[in-house]
């Protein structure tokens, strides 16, 4: 696999503000990469650096083995889907989609065929003569997509293209974008602040924070093995607990976390030589049981303790629980709302909890 897009030590400053801070990253050909981060983290600036709307203050941008750092947008083999769609209001749907081909002086017959193909790809056949203001939000989005894809870019850049759509349509478009990307094999670079969107669509996710890429990995890696406190906190819910080393055995360590709960972790997971670290734990990984006593837990559940349910929030398919352990540590947990045969939890109930050592992620203290 070769790099389709490569950023080498890219920094972008606006006045005194550093939007992108020394980012070096490769984007593999044919992958769906999402830049995920809060607003103002620099993800859009990263996209604009690839598109050519910004020139880096330092570093270089490479696309398909070519240094494009100083090439204007109209000479780069990339196309963008804009957040506001940016459809030309004075042109019809077909003229909008054909704009890029007209600029590249593609022959009329070929252009017409490719416009037809692109519109069919996004299921808009029949709307050729409409103007953008006669279309719904979802249709405009598809026109914007067709307009970019018809140019057959090496990389398609998408700047929060789904943020203006309602939840249901957004969900449908997520799956459709993913399908299109697989079908066409084009590299997609997708910018979003919506973690669910990122987890649904991406081959790999780059967590962007403060102008840097904090972690790059598959959705699975990002969710289950967050590398930094920010990554753990930004993607999904997480119990973030400060852990202090108490005792080190031959193969495990004993730590005390915020509030006083004591946990045992495999020695290999603990940062070598550290006295403190951060433990991240997904709420659904906290095993909660009312019926089992601690002795009934399977052998793998190394950390077993008792707790009281402080709060129970009904969320439909799941229940969100706030637990207070006997030692005084507060944890959140998510349990399935099972059949009446299973456990039913209420505030005030005493429960037994178990944590598997594999479900605890140790993040080095910063």
């Amino acid at each position: 696999m070769s790099a389709m897009v490569e950023l080498r030590g890219v920094t972008k400053r606006f006045g005194g503000f550093t939007a992108v801070n020394d980012v070096s990253q490769q984007i593999v050909g044919g992958e769906f990469l999402t830049l995920l981060g809060p607003s103002g983290c620099g993800k859009t600036t990263l996209l604009r650096l690839i598109a050519g709307f910004e020139t880096p203050t330092a570093g270089s941008v490479w696309i398909d083995g070519e240094d494009v750092t100083h090439l204007p947008p109209y000479r780069r083999p990339v196309n963008q889907v804009f957040q506001s769609y940016a459809l030309f209001p004075h042109l019809t749907v077909a003229e909008n989609v054909g704009f890029g081909l007209r600029m590249k002086q593609v022959g009329k017959a070929e252009a017409a065929a490719r416009v037809g193909e692109a519109l069919a790809l996004v299921s808009l056949t029949g709307l050729e003569t409409r103007r953008p203001h006669q279309l719904s939000g979802g249709q405009r989005q598809r026109v914007a997509l067709a307009r970019a894809l018809v140019c057959r870019p090496k990389v398609l850049l998408l700047d929060e293209p789904l943020s203006a759509l309602d939840a249901k349509l957004r969900r449908a478009m997520q799956l459709e974008l993913k399908r299109l990307q697989r079908q066409l094999g084009i590299t997609f670079v997708f910018v979003t602040h919506d973690q669910e969107e990122a987890l649904t669509m991406s081959d790999r996710i780059a967590i962007v924070n403060d102008g840097r890429i904090e972690q790059l990995g598959t959705a699975h890696e990002i969710y289950h093995r967050p590398a930094t406190r920010f990554a753990a906190d930004f993607v999904g819910e997480a119990n973030l607990l400060e852990a202090r080393l108490l005792l080190q055995d031959a193969d495990c360590v004993h730590v005390a976390v915020t509030g006083g709960l004591e946990l045992t972790l495999p020695l290999a997971a603990w940062p070598a030589g550290a006295s403190v670290a951060l433990i991240a734990m997904r709420p659904e990984k906290v095993h909660v049981s009312k019926l089992k006593s601690p002795a009934d837990f399977p052998a793998g559940a190394a950390n077993i303790f008792e707790a009281r349910i402080e709060e129970e929030i009904f969320q439909g398919a799941t229940d969100f629980l706030v637990l207070l352990t006997a030692a005084g540590t507060r944890l959140s947990a998510v349990v399935a709302n099972e059949s009446a045969l299973g456990d039913i939890f209420h505030a005030g109930d005493r429960v037994s909890c178990g944590l598997h050592a594999d479900d605890l992620v140790i993040v080095p203290a910063e």
């Binding site: 940016a86 209001p89 890029g100 600029m103």
Partner: protein, 289 residues
Amino acid sequence: MTPATDRRTPRWRARLLLAPMVAWLVLFVVAPTAILFVYSFCERDEVGRVVFSFTLENYRRVADPVYLRIFNRSIGYAGLTTLICIGVGYPVAYCIGRAREAWRQRLLLLVMVPFWTSFLIRTYAWITILKQEGLLNGLVHQFAPGAAPFELLYTPTAVVIGLVYAYLPFMILPIYGSVEKLDGALIEAAYDLGAGPLRVFSSVIIPLTLPGIAAGTLLVFVPAVGMFAITDLMGGARVPLIGNVIQNQFLQARDWPFGAALGAVFMGLFAVTYWLMLRLGAREEETAA
């Protein structure tokens, strides 16, 4: 407004609100136009009084080649003025419209500053610049002492300079309005789709600011055709335009019916121009909405 909310307010109250404006229009627009129209079919007696009758003689005289030539010349001057105003005004309006927000108001103010001084005074200022022993020739003399002085004042060039100077702000303001509304993402999208700066300008920026150009053209062309003060002062009445002729008929020749006929033809001409521009503007507005 939907018909449902329309019904809630009594019609007569809505009409009452319109009354002052309707009265103003009737008194100062409809009535004078009607009088002008009626006069254009009348005759005059020896001392210039209007004699009510019905004749097409005045309109026949308008068709006289002398006046047709003046009409043509007026349209030519106004057309040239409009083109120069677009050429000079568009870049200015574009720069102001795309400037940072904090700067826009200040730059717009600069465009309006000339309106703080009387139009006549500003025109006289141009005379002192352009006249044979004026500022411009003084400057030329400073740098090229041997060169013959320019003869600018009382030439067609001076008239066009004066017209462009007077009407330029009326071109800049409407174009500024449509440039400011222009979504920057559209320009970026055009670049992204492979359009170089020239193509972006011709394929996206110009079509989307056409309503502004149309409005500016209307605001410049129509008054420029009828202008008489500038042609009098800077053209030295050597190149009479239709405005001068009409003014003469009313004030010097005391042939009001003929002046009225010239005015009526003139207004018909404007109505057609206006209608064309409006249609162009409306079509672009509709697609830009």
